[in-house]
């Protein structure tokens, strides 16, 4: 029976173009939908699979505004059975701050009798790309950590995890629980939510936590975008009739062989 905690972050779903706020400190997400990183989608899927395989539980956690309940509910609809919202302004939190408040939740759950055998995170948040929260959390909890795993299985008191190595091969870890793992997309296909899943998710009560921690911050000075390029596209034609012009282009580029 494994208790799994999986950590996700609400981020803007960017579409085709990024716009910044006037102070250049964040992405203007006023007209955007929100999502979580594909790595975290895979972490949620793995958490649910481990919970199913071991007759355990998968709990989803986010540090963010009350709007992040949307992302928690999505994870509940997929099969997580508990959810924690650490209500905070995530943009004021650096990776060390996020790790600190997650560690606080893990410790207070431990005092209440629940040990999370496995904490899963994404390898990197899709907005800040810090590559740190999982490792920092492992130091705060004094647990082993592996970064960038794509599949895993829990067997008794140990977890076997696989990730890709620098030479393109697969590296296999065998780690004692409790452990922290960060997940990279690629090993599994996340499931889609079912309608009964969505109905059930609406009824789960979300555990709200107010952090005691004063964030140290991110060090961000400002964001910068590459200069916008005016479109310089040459339209070669429409439909099948464009084939000759396309092959002319291939020949010009020397790729037609």
């Amino acid at each position: 029976m494994a208790d799994v905690l999986v950590c996700i972050k609400r981020v803007p779903d960017l579409g085709g173009e990024i716009r910044l706020t006037n102070d250049a400190m964040s992405v203007d997400d006023s007209s955007l939908g929100h999502t979580v990183s594909p790595h975290e989608e895979c972490a949620v899927e793995l958490a649910i699979q481990v919970a199913k395989d071991t007759d355990g539980r998968a709990t989803v956690l986010t540090v963010g505004s009350s709007e992040a309940v949307e992302q928690l509910r999505n994870a509940l609809a997929l099969g997580c059975t508990g959810a924690v919202l650490v209500e905070a302004d995530a943009s004021a939190y650096g990776p060390a701050d996020v790790a600190t408040v997650i560690a606080d939740v893990v410790r207070s759950q431990e005092q209440a009798g629940t040990t999370y055998d496995l904490v899963l995170l994404g390898s990197d948040a899709s907005d800040t790309g810090d590559f740190q929260v999982g490792v920092r959390l492992s130091y705060l909890l004094d647990r082993p950590v592996v970064a960038g795993v794509s599949t895993l299985s829990v067997e008794g008191e140990r977890v076997t995890a696989r990730g890709s190595g620098p030479d393109g091969g697969t590296e296999i870890y065998d780690v004692p629980l409790p452990a922290v793992l960060t997940v990279m997309e690629g090993g599994i296909e996340p499931r889609y939510p079912s309608i009964p899943g969505r109905m059930k998710a609406k009824k789960v009560s979300i555990d709200e936590v107010t952090p005691a921690h004063q964030p140290a911050g991110t060090g961000r000075v400002r964001l910068k975008l590459p200069p916008a390029q005016p479109s310089e596209v040459t339209v070669l034609g429409e439909g099948a009739d464009a084939a000759a012009a396309v092959v002319d282009l291939f020949e010009k580029l020397g790729v037609a062989r």
Partner: protein
């Protein structure tokens, strides 16, 4: 002193690590290279060519297979008076440096592309999957960072050095070996390697329509001697395997030609294909971002356009 953790491959220092050393030299301080585990022939000379004043070597039982915490122990042992400690922004580089930052109790900047100022230290680093940069202040006594791939071109130093190699004594407690590679398996010969090095990539997105919609696209790929790359929609629908994915959470490609068929050009996909020298978009929507950002476009249904291109290629070859 600037300490660079060097990753190696069959050719010596990995290209990303040579880029990182080139980047480090630009900071104008003495550069020291750290090698962990078995060296490779010719490595020390190569590190000298890239300007390493000294080479520190951590070797022994703790380093026979990879354990990030043990590597971090080596970096911390080597850091001494370093003002900056860096590695390449690879999975390993980012993992080890995160451990190092925890051990030194400092911040870390991942995927840095430039140093903007030194007093205080402000770096620019890739965020949003490489579609934007963040200026970040690093206020600690020692700066820990990783350097993004292709942030600079790997260039040997003018007048290299003949560095001395100093064995590095590292105490690695058992707790640093709790998470360690116990086994590795070689990769499938063709997985994503050919995609990253292909001169021509034929890209396919949701417009392919179904798992059966790739026949003509694969034929075009073959006619051009290229590789197939796909969008995340295609992999998450299970139409094609993940190792073919291009983008923020897939491969970064830089072919001479990218033929993007039925791909809208979302920012996360663009992050992976923007380095292509020439982009040809084939799309039914003339306003799709992939079309407006491309060099060339054909407006139309890929299921009509691609077979016509294949036929024309075959016809001209006779």
């Amino acid at each position: 002193m600037i300490l660079v953790l060097v990753e190696t491959d069959d050719g010596g220092a990995a290209e990303v690590s040579r880029e990182t050393m080139t980047f480090a030299r630009g900071l104008g301080e003495e550069m020291v290279a750290l090698v962990v585990g078995d060296g490779v022939p010719g490595l020390v000379d190569q590190l000298g060519e890239y300007g390493a004043a000294r080479v520190l070597h951590a070797d022994g039982d703790a380093f026979t297979s990879y354990a990030a915490a043990a590597w971090a122990a080596a970096v911390v042992a080597a850091a001494g008076e370093a003002s900056v400690v860096m590695a390449a922004g690879t999975t390993r580089g980012n993992e080890v440096m995160a451990h190092v930052a925890c051990r030194l109790g400092v911040a870390m900047a991942a995927n840095v592309v430039a140093v903007d100022s030194t007093e205080p230290l402000v770096v620019s680093r890739q965020v949003l999957g490489g579609s934007a940069l963040e200026e970040m202040r690093l206020g600690d006594a020692v700066a820990v960072l990783t350097v993004a791939g292709h942030a600079c071109e790997a260039r040997p130093a003018d007048g290299g050095t003949s560095p001395v190699v100093q064995p590095l004594d590292v105490a690695v407690p058992d707790t640093d070996l709790r998470a360690r590679v116990v086994r590795s398996e070689p990769g499938e010969p063709d997985e994503s390697g050919s995609l990253k090095s292909a001169r021509v990539v034929v890209g396919a997105g949701r417009g392919a329509g179904s798992a059966d919609g790739f026949k003509d696209l694969l034929e075009l790929t073959e006619l051009l001697g290229g590789a197939l790359g796909v969008s995340r929609v295609v992999t998450s629908l299970g139409w094609r395997p993940h190792h073919e994915q291009v983008g923020q959470t897939g491969s970064r490609i830089s072919p001479d030609l990218y033929v993007a068929c039925g791909i809208s050009g979302a920012i996360q996909h663009w992050a992976g294909c923007q380095s292509a020298k020439t982009i040809l978009a084939i799309n039914t929507d003339p306003d799709a971002p992939m079309v407006t950002k491309a060099h060339y476009a054909v407006i139309g249904d890929l299921h009509e356009v691609v077979p016509a291109i294949n036929e024309e290629l075959r016809r001209r070859r006779g």
